[in-house]
């Protein structure tokens, strides 16, 4: 059962990582426009750069 000494912290750490990722998505406002985000992947425009026109 000694393996628990590693496994429990690991499982908690992984959970905490997930939680941190969730906080990040909240902070960067990724839930504000779910419909739009779904459609934007179909756009041929680069989304993470200003339009080069």
């Amino acid at each position: 059962m000694n393996v628990l000494v590693y496994l429990i912290p690991i499982s908690l750490l992984l959970g905490a990582l997930g939680l941190a990722a969730f906080f990040w998505t909240l902070k960067t406002e990724q839930y504000d426009d779910p419909d739009g985000d779904g459609q934007r992947i179909l756009s041929d425009r680069w989304d993470d750069n200003p339009p080069e026109e």
Binding site: M1, L4, I8, S11, L12, G15, A16, G18, L19, F22, F23, L26, T28, E29, Y31, D32, D33, P34, D35, G36, Q39, R40, I41, L42, S43, D44, R45, D47, D48, N49, P50, P51, E53
Partner: protein, 731 residues
């Protein structure tokens, strides 16, 4: 609206940061300004790209970001860019756009609340999964020191999580208890706190059963219900705010010796002079001091014919000025105006409706006492029977946890979210939380005429009946005018491929019509009295060509699309349909005949309408009122449930429970079906959770409940309730 969302925080952050610092934009030294546009028609990726690309090409636009969920665009521009130009440009390239008043959109604060809920939900979800992991180990046979260790770790996760995530329930429960009331949150808080407290006690004494996972999954499922509920209401609220933001209540005050100034209507005082430009709404009650024009009073009285206004005419707030500019001396503004007197009628009717108790409240009223009495009785019984306090406490807490209203908390929001989401897609916005339940009970529908069954816009009759020459001249004259009849004539003639005649020196005579020169003759298009024509008994404009007998162009109010289908469908359901209007009998009879309503009333005053609806209600009918005008507001408020189109006056939209966002009336019948099936689902959900409790309560009372059983009962009932709600989506 939250801050601008951009996948490129850096490009946005720069101007934003400067704006906040008040330094202005480095590019041209001008201050930045944020404009919000409503884009009701966009739906796809190409629309997003089209709008953003189009806006980015405009002068002075720094960044533009479309939010498809809210159907809105946030544009950062230079100070000198007008929102209207951008909206016109977008409408020009095929994306209908309207300016929004950013002051009306206070969604930032409410959005914070949504994020807060989501955060608590996320934390409780994380904690629940981790504790569940440890609990599974305990359930599958961990003993002694291992079990205690797992329990301690669970406690370490559960205590702070409950402290953070469950605050929502504690606060609400506390505020209810303080005024000596019981709400759903009281048993919830009690269950969570007792489960946690007992588990800590058991853990300290190396007990076998700990309910940490139950306390957390309770929190998680209930928060999920809370969040769904919030989302539904937030969407409705932001759309309602958007409707309000579409009209900016301002007036042009005339100040002697200076340019007119724009002031909020609330700042006007009796005796002051305001200017009302053509096409705008009269902001106050008053007396015309200068100018000639025609007024459209359909929103106030339901009359479809415009009335003439000249000095000394009395005007009321809400009328629309059609042709010439008017100056009006204010006799009553704000609270004293006829708009507000109407609001008093509404206030009386409103209180009657507030007495409606929602299904959820009814369920909670039964549920909360039953659960508390049951667990307390179980505790007393076991203490009396066995004398073992600890075991009795265990049983009482297990009863409380197992009966806890996870499924009940999800039963209503899961269904309402699914249903209102679907109604929203069809163009119906539910403003009130109980609107759906009330809509499901409707058995009689009362319609207003002008602006509700009809578009409130005149359409030219029998174009082919007129001579080509008349049409060409009339088109040439009408093209330059903003009068609704002229515009409608232009549209109809253009659509029929008529080319305008060459008319020169076209001038508009306010309140009378349009005049011009054609092949050396004076031609006029306008009111009958002006041309010396005999007025026909319906909305019409007249054309005279230098002395010849004037020709009448008659108009009828076009039906709103989908009206016939909606009324046929309502009748097929066996509902009573009534048309009630303030217009003259001939006009009402005509429309009633066209849409197939046998039961109609004309010449009704606002009070009559409200009384008619109230009388129907007293005779046991559940009335749905559909109306848009100020003269309908009292009736809208008196009805069991009410609907108004988005084009309605704000006062009418405020009192109605549902707003029809699109132009078409067709979704009406479908919405009633939808609300019926939604109410059925809600009741089924109550039955499901009651069914689970029927099995679980005896087990718990007899002392056979284990944390595993509690977890199973809780998850299965919550999941089956949610799945049942989703069934609605597929019809």
């Amino acid at each position: 609206m939250a801050a601008p969302i951009s996948a490129c925080p850096a490009c946005d952050a720069a101007p934003l940061a400067e704006e906040q610092a008040g330094k202005g934009y480095r590019g041209n030294g001008m201050e930045a300004k944020r404009i919000m546009l409503s884009l009701p028609q966009i739906y796809c990726a190409a629309c997003i790209a089209g709008v953003e690309r189009g806006l980015a090409k405009q002068d002075g636009v720094r960044s533009a970001r479309v939010n498809l969920t809210l159907k809105r665009a946030v544009v950062d521009v230079d100070q000198d860019v007008e929102a209207q130009t951008l909206a016109d440009y977008l409408t020009g390239i095929g994306f209908e756009a309207y300016e929004l008043d950013p002051g009306q959109l206070k969604a930032t604060a409410t959005d914070k609340h949504g994020k807060d809920l989501l955060m608590r939900l996320g934390v409780s979800g994380f904690a629940m999964m981790n504790v569940m992991l440890l609990s599974v180990a305990v359930w599958s046979g961990a003993t002694d020191a291992t079990r205690d260790l797992f329990h301690w770790i669970s406690a370490g996760i559960a205590i702070p999580t409950v402290g953070f995530s469950s605050q929502v329930f504690f606060k609400s429960a506390w505020s209810a208890l303080r005024v000596r009331r019981l709400n759903m949150d009281v048993p919830i808080s009690l269950a969570i706190l007792l489960a946690l407290g007992m588990s800590i006690y058991e853990t300290m004494h190396s007990g076998k059963h700990a309910y940490f996972d139950a306390a957390l999954s309770l929190t998680f499922f209930l928060l999920a219900g809370r969040y769904l509920d919030y989302r539904t209401r937030a969407v409705a609220r932001s759309a309602a705010e958007e409707l309000a933001a579409l009209e900016v209540p301002r007036a042009l005050r005339v100040v002697a010796g200076q340019a007119d100034e724009q002031v909020p209507v609330s700042e006007l005082e009796p005796g002051q002079i305001v200017r009302v430009v053509p096409g705008s709404r009269v902001p106050v009650d008053g007396i015309v001091t200068g100018g000639e024009s025609e007024l459209d009073r359909s929103l106030l009285t339901g009359e479809s014919l415009p009335v003439a206004a000249s000095p000394d005419s009395i005007v009321s707030a809400g009328e629309v000025n059609l042709t010439g500019p008017l100056t009006v001396r204010v006799t009553a503004a704000g609270r004293d105006s006829s708009l507000h007197r109407m609001a008093d009628l509404v206030a009386i009717a409103e209180t009657a409706r507030n007495r409606y108790t929602s299904l959820a409240d009814k369920a909670a009223a039964v549920y909360a006492p039953v659960v508390h009495i049951l667990s307390f009785a179980a505790f007393l019984f076991w203490v009396w029977y066995s004398g073992d306090w600890r075991m009795s406490m265990n049983i009482a807490v297990a009863t409380l946890i197992i009966t806890c209203p996870c499924a009940l908390g999800l039963a209503v929001p899961a269904v309402t979210t699914a249903a209102s989401g679907r109604l929203f897609k069809q163009g119906m916005l539910l403003k009130s939380a109980t609107a759906m339940e009330r809509l499901a009970e409707v058995d009689h529908v009362v319609f207003d005429k002008t602006g509700t069954l009809t578009e409130g816009k005149p359409a030219l009759d029998a174009l082919a009946r007129h001579k080509d020459r008349d049409l060409q001249v009339a088109l040439a004259l009408a093209e330059g005018s903003s009068h609704p009849l002229a515009q409608s004539l232009t549209q109809a003639a253009r659509a029929a491929g008529v080319h305008p005649a060459e008319v020169s020196q076209v001038t508009e005579v306010p309140g009378k019509g349009i005049e011009g020169q054609w092949t050396g003759k004076t031609v006029r298009l306008g009111r009958a009295e002006w041309l010396g024509a005999n007025a026909v008994g319906q909305t019409a404009t007249y054309l005279s060509i230098s002395g010849a007998k004037p020709v009448a162009f008659t108009f009828t109010d076009a039906l709103r699309p989908g009206v016939e289908e909606a009324i046929t469908a309502l009748k097929a359901k066996g509902m009573g349909v009534t048309l009630i209007s303030g217009d003259v009998p001939a006009a009402v009879a005509d429309i009633a005949g066209r849409v197939g309503i046998e039961d109609w009333q004309a010449d009704t005053l606002p009070e009559d309408k409200a009384e008619f609806v109230a009388r129907l209600g007293k005779s046991g009918r559940k009335v749905l009122m559909v109306g848009d005008g100020l003269n309908d507001t009292a009736a809208l408020a008196a009805a069991h449930v009410s609907i108004s189109p988005a084009s309605a006056l704000e006062a009418a939209r405020v009192v109605s429970d549902i707003v029809l966002l699109g132009k078409s009336m067709e979704p009406l019948a479908g919405a009633i079906d939808m609300s019926k099936s939604a109410t059925r689902r809600i009741k089924e959900n109550f039955a499901i959770s009651a069914g689970y409790n029927l099995i679980a309560i005896p087990v718990a009372l007899l002392g056979f409940a284990t944390p595993l059983a509690a977890a199973l009962a809780m998850s299965t009932s919550s999941v089956s309730v949610s799945l049942n709600a989703l069934r609605l989506k597929k019809g």
